[in-house]
């Protein structure tokens, strides 16, 4: 028979919508509205997993987020998601679920031999046992331990699911949609305030859903909410973190929508935590058997899902609330054998005469192997055995305070509840309902009304209306007060589990205390109490109780462990959001990017930009292609896309003075229509950035920066302009993206330029070295600057970005007769290294002063500039400081490694003092040999010495000769002529 434990009617499941699903390959059926747990129980399946350490059979213990046992993997292959609580997974068509431990099968698990070893597997066992020999021992043991213990397995294939991120702003955020939360939301929203209501469940109602039907109120509630002006309902949304000042994080699970999970970042003015309370277990021998369940969970399964969690029930309680479960189980046709009550007196609620109530009674052992079969009870010194297949336990209720405590809020211990309650209210935050320690449907509702009104009044809204919603009726209110009697019951019949997920027993905690651990935080870390996916929701208070009893201290003195986000596990996919399918960082593309892509460019990142490293059709590999490209520039002519260089428009009456202060060199006397190379320092005297800056008009400059440093330089300039020198008349605007710039370099460059700009005089007189000229190209504004990084005669041509591609293609077309070819960053590097030109990020790496790299002569002696005072630091002038030099491979063949260390002797594994380092390397087409730039102690004094450039991590070594850093055309005749 399908679903033998399903009631013929009742519950919030849709019996007309059958949903097939499978568990460990077994085909089963449930209904729409089920959770995986309720559907399994409807099919009589209680054994759903094996425990963490001892591989004990485990069943479904709760009906919600606090579930410690029923962890399953949902989906298979790349879609698999491990460690989901079966109690939280909504049943869907064709859902595949798997238990996570148990080999060869869940029923017969060989790992269960661990139980026999339990006496030696106590807390701290691994650390005490698996010590040595040697440092490698632990990783070796760990491999096997991880296989035996541990939780689910993450899939290794790329995640095919989609994730979403959203920001949400609201006036009032209500967390939890039980009676208190609903009252607060309805009240607050009636004023027109923007209200968001988040609840973990697919349905609103919270604890109301656990009561017996009818459910008319649910529709009435939805209609009521729909009438309100600005309410956002977030079902299946767990608010997992509270980050002060009204900031919350929430994870929403989605079905049949674009994304599977959505991460919300919520900013609210007022928050109302109506997170409710969760039930605590009682601790006794073999309290982990499948069929042992929280009383509230059993009540939820019969009422909400129309499922009998067993046929013959016994209840074990220390408070009145479990009696409600007894009534509802009876109503649902479950035989309630007895209520075993720890308290001496009778409950304050009437009990049907069919139910036997044992007072002053203790359950001390649960019998059965894969399922509970009986419970052994002691009352008045007499022992009895009560046969049952369902044992419902209740040790009282604990307010859910995680979000309150994240912010952090103070909590205090309340004896009557045996639990922590919020101590102080925080600004913009209220706790309402059971979360505040107030129990009872009516009381929670009233408190919610007040909290909702208070929240909107604090925001200046008008007085709210009383909601027109009537709460479902309830026969009686049940007290949740607990007696002094300990919920930790003595017994030696078997392990007494405090933390089911981590297999932590009373004895483990006692051992930790015997070994000297006193703080609850230490006990947690030594025993793993309260860790894992459930974070000890059903374990922590009982754990503190054990510690309190052993140390004979009050629980309030023992305290609670720190509450930290996230409240429920958050998947990494949800944290990544849309960036799990797109790139993590933006990719900046030059206006000519598409041409490079279509013409075989191999790209390399340069900051956020992607720039052509070399073109594939120019050679067999990087060095060959780049050498070819560089050679073409030296002999004929080449073009490179330099649009990515930072460009900053600087205007104002004090623009010259501003540049004087920013750069180490002088600017006031630069002629209009000329450019100059400039170097700027950081405040501490180290070189920050360089580039050429052109004077376009009396009070108008165009600065260029390195590609990677452009944003940093822009910030630097703006900071000084806005904060340090607001009196200077300077206006700064980034124009990096407005201009496309192409470098045209090589002996034929002037001919190409002349062909492109027909009729324009581009001769050496009209456009000399470092000259800047405004021009027009087929109706488009253009600017030509005669700047050379390669050491050849060269020009940089700029046009507005949307014409960049046209400029590039036009240059290739007119240059064809002059053998023009594009070159990439690698070739650009070879050319500039031959010339001894430096690059920020390689040679200028934030650790060099201008003196170290031959720029000392540029430092003006008769003006102030950023970093000038720091240049007087004695360390900058010490003997033996590393100084710029060139290096050439001695055998003319072996490439030198960038980043290699310089040592005096050939490296054979023995450490040697470092003489310096290689900062960038090239193959020089002009010299036909590998060359490099670097820093070496003494600089020029070391010229002609043979040293070794070694890179042990890449296992590379080259014998090199120290030379001047300029390898090619030291007089600069080629670029100036």
């Amino acid at each position: 028979m399908s679903q033998p434990f399903r009631l013929p009617s009742g519950g919030l499941v849709d019996r007309s919508r059958k949903l097939p699903f499978s568990f460990n390959g077994k085909r089963l059926e449930g209904y729409a509205g089920d959770t995986l747990a309720s559907a399994l129980l409807a099919n009589g399946i209680h054994l759903v997993g094996r425990s963490f350490k001892y591989h004990r059979p485990r069943g479904i213990f709760t009906a919600g987020v606090e579930e410690p046992n029923a962890l399953v993997q949902v989906g298979s292959g790349a879609h698999a998601e491990p460690n989901l609580r079966a109690t939280e997974v909504p049943l869907s068509y064709g859902l595949e679920a798997y238990s996570q431990r148990g080999w060869p099968s869940l029923r017969f698990d060989l790992g269960a031999v661990a139980q026999l070893l339990a006496p030696v597997l106590a807390a701290g066992f691994y650390y005490k046992t698996f010590m040595g020999p040697g440092r490698r021992a632990w990783p070796f043991y760990e491999y096997f331990i991880r296989r035996a213990a541990g939780l689910g397995k993450a899939p290794e294939a790329p995640d095919p699911d989609r994730y979403d991120h959203r920001h949400l702003h609201c006036d009032v955020l209500v967390i939890g949609a039980g009676p208190a939360g609903l009252a607060a939301a309805l009240t607050a929203a009636s004023t027109g305030a923007r209200v968001a209501v988040a609840d973990q469940n697919p349905l609103l109602g919270g604890s109301l859903l656990d009561r017996a039907g009818p459910w008319d109120w649910l529709e009435q509630l939805m209609a009521q909410l729909a009438k309100l002006p600005d309410v956002l309902l977030l079902p299946q949304t767990a608010v997992f973190g509270h980050y002060r000042q009204g900031r919350f994080g929430a994870l929403q699970r989605l079905e049949n929508q674009g994304a599977r999970q959505r991460l919300w970042q919520i900013q609210t003015q007022q928050a109302i935590l109506a997170t409710g309370a969760s039930e605590r277990p009682l601790v006794f021998s073999h309290n982990d058997r499948p069929g042992v369940m929280l009383a509230s969970a059993a009540r939820c399964y019969v009422n909400r899902y129309g499922v009998q969690p067993g046929r013959n029930a016994v209840l074990f309680t220390n408070n009145d609330s479990a009696y409600a479960t007894a009534f509802d189980l009876m109503q649902a046709g479950v035989a309630v054998k007895a209520i075993v009550d720890l308290r001496p007196g009778p409950a304050a609620v009437p009990v049907p005469k069919e139910i036997e109530v044992l007072t002053s009674a203790k359950a001390f052992n649960a019998k059965g192997r894969r399922h509970v079969a009986a419970v052994e009870v002691e009352t008045d010194g007499l022992r009895r055995r009560l046969d049952c297949d369902l044992l419902c336990i209740s040790g009282g209720w604990s307010p859910v305070l995680h979000l309150f405590a994240h912010s952090p809020g103070q909590i205090r211990y309340q004896e009557a509840l045996g639990a922590w309650v919020p101590k102080l209210e925080q600004e913009g935050l209220q706790v309402a309902g059971a979360a505040s320690g107030v129990f009872g449907r009516e009381a929670c509702w009233r408190q919610g009304l007040e909290a909702g009104a208070k929240a909107v009044q604090a925001l200046g809204f008008s007085s709210p209306e009383k909601p027109a919603f009537t709460l479902p009726r309830e026969a009686a209110e049940f007290s949740v007060s607990v007696p002094e009697i300990s919920p930790i019951l003595p017994g030696k019949k078997g392990p007494r589990f405090v933390d089911l997920q981590n297999d932590v027993t009373v004895e483990d905690i006692e051992l930790a205390l015997r070994e000297g651990y006193r703080s609850i935080e230490q006990v947690k870390r030594y025993t793993t109490l309260g860790m894992g996916t459930d974070q000890g929701r059903t374990a922590n208070i009982n754990g503190s109780r054990v510690v309190a009893e052993v140390l004979a201290r009050p629980v309030s003195a023992v305290g609670a462990t720190t509450f930290r986000p996230p409240w429920t596990p958050v998947t990494l996919g949800a944290v990544a959001g849309q960036q799990s399918e797109t790139s993590l960082a933006p990719l900046r593309r030059s206006p000519i990017h598409s041409w490079h892509e279509e013409n075989g460019a191999v790209f390399m990142p340069s900051g956020l930009w992607w720039r052509p490293h070399y073109y594939r059709n120019h050679g067999a590999g990087l060095v060959e292609a780049a050498a070819f490209e560089a050679q073409n520039v030296r002999r004929r002519v080449g073009i490179a896309d330099v649009s990515t260089l930072g460009k900053i428009d600087i205007q104002g009456e004090d623009a010259s003075e501003f540049l004087n202060r920013i750069y180490i060199n002088h600017w006031s006397k630069l002629a209009i229509g000329k450019a100059r190379y400039g170097v700027m320092l950081r405040e501490d005297g180290y070189v920050f950035d360089d580039g050429t800056t052109a004077r376009l008009a009396e009070n108008h400059y165009l600065m260029t920066t390195t590609t990677v440093n452009a944003p940093a330089v822009q910030s630097h300039l703006e900071f000084y302009q806005q904060v340090i020198w607001p009196d200077l008349d300077v206006k700064i605007t980034s124009v990096t993206d407005h201009w496309a710039v192409v470098a045209l370099a090589g002996p034929n460059s002037r001919s190409v330029l002349g062909s492109l700009f027909e009729g324009l005089d581009v001769g050496n007189e009209a456009l000399p070295f470092l000259g800047v000229m405004e021009a027009e190209l087929y109706g488009v504004q253009a600017r030509i600057a005669r700047i050379s990084f390669s050491g050849e005669r060269a020009y940089e041509i700029a046009v507005p970005a949307d014409y960049g591609l046209a400029l590039w293609e036009a240059l290739l077309e007119v240059g064809e007769t002059f053998a023009i070819g594009p070159y990439g960053l690698e070739a650009m590097d070879y050319l500039r290294i031959e010339k001894g030109h430096l690059v920020v990020g390689a040679d200028i790496d934030g650790r060099v002063s201008p003196y170290d790299v031959g720029l000392g002569g540029m430092c003006s002696q008769n003006k102030d500039f950023i970093g000038r005072r720091s240049l007087e630091k004695p360390a900058f002038h010490e003997q033996g400081r590393l100084q710029l030099a060139g290096f050439m491979s001695t055998d003319g063949k072996t490439m030198i490694t960038a980043g290699a260390q310089l040592v005096a002797e050939s490296f054979k594994g023995k450490p040697q003092p470092s003489l310096g380092r290689i900062t960038s390397r090239a193959y020089s087409p002009a010299l036909g040999a590998p060359i490099a730039l670097g820093l070496i102690a003494g600089g020029p004094e070391a010229y002609e010495q043979p040293v070794y450039a070694v890179s042990p991590i890449t296992d590379e070594q080259a014998e090199v000769r120290v030379t001047s850093p300029c390898f090619y055309d030291p007089q600069g005749e080629r670029m100036k002529g």
């Binding site: 919030l12 729409a32 509205g33 989609r162 994730y163 979403d164 991120h165 959203r166 920001h167 702003h169 349905l203 609103l204 459910w215 649910l218 939805m222 729909a226 309902l233 989605l254 674009g258 994304a259 959505r262 970042q265 900013q267 959001g577 849309q578 399918e581 797109t582 790139s583 933006p586 990719l587 900046r588 593309r589 030059s590 206006p591 598409s594 990515t644 428009d649 205007q651 008349d729 206006k731 700064i732 605007t733 980034s734 124009v735 990096t736 993206d737 407005h738 201009w739 492109l756 027909e758 190209l777 087929y778 507005p800 970005a801 949307d802 014409y803 591609l805 046209a806 293609e809 077309e813």
Partner: protein
């Protein structure tokens, strides 16, 4: 050859997003004729100088002027003439910024995927603009009218931002679906 070259410079070549943008309803990339920054003029002066251009605030006395009809040269002349008495700096950034337009009832929800500002009409009224960020990418956001937003980004980011906008568009369906009651 001159004619062939002239042809190349006839039309602006935009970053490759506009074709795809048309495929998602409500998401488009209409480019203005000119965009300029003006630094050094107070709001009252700017408003007096403008004709039918859009004025977006970038910083103290720093503005973005967007014209749908005037070409950069013409706009620059007009602004220079109208603000003759002010000590201003005019910079053409027409090609440096790229514009996306989000239009429709879902525009605000879509922006909420990357923009952390409160875009509720009561907080971000039509006509308002703000330099802000889409995640970590600088944008200037402008509420053109109810349910219509313009997003200006630096040209080089356009293709990446487009990918992100499109991903947010398709992953955000059904955000504001009412909670269903299943019975």
């Amino acid at each position: 050859m001159a004619h062939r070259l002239a042809e190349k410079f006839k039309n602006r070549c935009l970053p490759p997003v506009d074709g795809a943008a048309g495929s998602l309803a409500g998401l488009s990339a209409p480019q203005p004729a000119a965009i300029m920054t003006v630094a050094g003029a107070a709001e009252s002066r700017m408003k007096a100088a403008l004709l039918d251009e859009t004025l977006l605030w970038l910083g103290p006395n720093k503005w973005l002027v967007v014209s749908e009809t005037r070409q950069p040269g013409e706009l620059a002349e007009k602004l220079a003439a109208a603000l003759e008495k002010e000590n201003i700096a005019l910079t053409d950034v027409s090609h440096g910024l790229f514009r996306f337009r989000l239009k429709g009832p879902g525009a605000r929800d879509m922006l909420s995927a990357g923009v952390s500002l409160d875009l509720h009409p009561s907080a971000f009224k039509p006509g308002r603009s703000a330099p802000c960020a889409w995640r970590n990418v600088y944008i200037v956001l402008h509420a053109v009218e109810a349910e219509c937003f313009d997003v200006y980004t630096f040209r080089s980011y356009a293709s990446s931002l487009w990918e992100w906008l499109a991903a947010s568009y398709t992953s955000g369906t059904g955000i504001f679906q009412p909670c269903r009651t299943e019975r």
